[in-house]
């Protein structure tokens, strides 16, 4: 029975990592589409959403099956629940990538040549680092790394505030920029939300490793 369980767990871990890699790629592609006005890339992001949704459901079913059939405890229980939650976060991240891609399509159609905020690139770099880092921490069961990744969320939040302040200023100075400004405003917010989900994953990794729920303990890094 135990071998059976280990095999199921291995398959589950493998699936969630494949999903994670796909979602990470999707976020990359969505931002690329936005910054470089690539409607073709944005379309690709939109088309992959349905497959991600199906994938998420399959992983959840697998988790439920393991819970029902093996009734895992201790670290095994924490791993299955961590996968359940990470799965959910990844699906939400994919939705956000789709939202960013939609903004890219709109900008490309109606606001051709709109200036993309310079800081968006730097913000994207940190957000992607969080996504990748949180999943590395999951693979390596590295709680210290997970805490460090979670701390990066402050940096993303700072970029978010700065970009939005800049956009506001730009919209005030030139009403013609309002349309593009609002699109970029929401794309920035979506990216900020992506980083929040990465921070959630990092918190799940700490729980998986240490059995402590650190969510909402904002001062304990």
């Amino acid at each position: 029975m135990l071998n059976h369980f280990f095999r199921d767990m291995e398959r589950l871990t493998c699936e969630i990592l494949k999903l994670a890699a796909t979602v990470e790629e999707l976020i990359h592609t969505a931002i690329h589409a936005l910054c470089d006005s690539r409607a073709d890339l944005a379309d690709r992001v939109l088309r992959s959403d349905e497959a991600i949704d199906d994938w998420e459901v399959r992983i959840e079913e697998e988790c439920l099956k393991i819970l029902a059939l093996h009734q895992p405890v201790a670290v095994d229980l924490r791993r299955v629940t961590a996968v359940l939650k990470i799965n959910n976060d990844l699906e939400r991240m994919a939705d956000l990538a789709v939202n960013i891609a939609e903004r890219a399509i709109y900008l490309n159609k109606y606001c051709k040549g709109a200036a993309i905020p310079e800081k968006l690139e730097a913000m994207t770099a940190v957000a992607i680092r969080m996504v990748r880092g949180s999943l590395d921490a999951f693979v390596n069961l590295d709680a210290d790394k997970a805490r460090a990744i979670r701390a990066l969320d402050d940096e993303v939040d700072r970029y978010n505030r700065e970009i939005i302040d800049d956009l506001k200023m730009s919209m005030r100075s030139d009403p013609d920029r309002i349309e593009a400004g609002l699109e970029l405003f929401s794309a920035t917010r979506h990216l900020e939300r992506v980083a929040d989900h990465a921070a959630n994953i990092a918190e799940d990794v700490v729980y998986l490793k240490e059995g402590e729920i650190i969510r909402h303990h904002h001062n304990l890094h």
Binding site: M1, L2, F5, Q71, P72, V73, A74, V75, D76, L77, R78, E210, G211, E212
Partner: protein, 306 residues
């Protein structure tokens, strides 16, 4: 090493020293002579939450060390599960609590063992009174070859129960969640009942002498899932009035029913294959099964050893 006890610890022959005593306090009832405790006995801890406490308790069967230096406090009105692989001393520890090990030739203990602050192992402690206050339910249902009524009434009668026996039998059977199934056939033999009913009859028999603690040694291992569920529901109902300690091999059962779980593990095996049990971890059950602190507990409950 596992004698089939003749009765469930509740029907020993002794007049009740305190009839209808309240389930708490009443420590003096255990002692038959006031000057019995040995001079070097250390003072019992006076934790009001703990009913049973051990301190560095070691148990030997002849020269073999079965349990080493167990220190544990069993909380009042809670269900405490003892888990661990075979041969780790769970049942040995359980039997220490009402001195059932006295019945095993060559068994002796070192260290301290208290029930409500009274030294259980002291020669001044009357084992019969002790077993009335700390009842036991065994692995295999062991009703007497008597009627259902007599099974329940027996222990109480021997203990000099003066009240309304019909009322006591009904109350005990009701508390054991068996009344509705047997009320029409109280004069039939207890052995006619199903295994699950027999086990609840044994619980009713234990309850009839009004113990404060109920020790259960794998009470469901011979029962099907439906009967097991009934006994587990019953345990949950009983914990408002009693303190329950249960030995179980079934970890799902420990998770379902208990508030606290003690995980005993065998220490390194000796050359002859004999193993000594030690207490690996004692924590709240939800804690132990989600985030155990001891790597031996973790390995055991996740099935990686044992």
């Amino acid at each position: 090493m596992n004698p089939e006890p003749r009765v469930g610890g509740d029907a020993e022959t002794a007049p009740r020293t305190q009839s209808q005593s309240s389930p708490t306090g009443d420590v003096s009832a255990l002692k038959t002579s006031p000057a019995g405790d040995s001079a070097e006995a250390i003072a019992p801890p006076r934790s009001t939450d703990a009913v049973l406490e051990t301190h560095n308790l070691s148990v030997y069967y002849n020269t073999l060390l079965a349990l080493r230096e167990i220190t544990i406090a069993i909380p009042r009105n809670r269900i405490t599960a003892l888990i661990g692989p075979s041969g780790c001393g769970k049942s040995t520890l359980l039997r220490c609590f009402n001195r059932m090990n006295d019945l095993i030739p060559g068994a002796r203990s070192e260290g301290n063992l208290w029930f409500e602050g009274v030294d259980i192992a002291a020669s001044s402690t009357d084992p019969v009174t002790l077993r009335r206050r700390i009842g036991m339910v065994f692995q295999r249902p062991n009703p007497f070859p008597k009627t259902i009524y007599q099974n329940v009434a027996w222990g109480a009668r021997i203990n000099g129960y003066q009240g309304d026996m019909d009322e006591l039998v009904e109350r005990s059977l009701r508390r054991a969640a068996l009344w509705d199934e047997v009320k029409g056939k109280l004069r039939e033999s207890g052995l006619e009942l199903s295994g699950g009913q027999q086990q609840r009859l044994c619980i009713a028999r234990t309850l009839a002498v009004e113990p404060e603690v109920i020790l259960m040694d794998e009470p469901c291992s011979a029962l099907d899932p439906v009967s097991t569920a009934r006994v587990e529901d019953l345990m949950d109902d009983l914990k408002d009035e009693y303190t329950i300690v249960i030995v179980t091999h079934n970890m799902q059962q420990a998770r379902r029913v208990s508030d606290m779980t003690a995980c005993l593990m065998p220490d390194e095996a000796l050359a002859d294959g004999h193993r000594t049990g030690v207490l690996a971890e004692f924590s709240a059950t939800d804690r132990l099964f989600t985030n155990p602190k001891d790597p031996r507990t973790e390995a055991y409950i996740t099935g990686r050893i044992g």
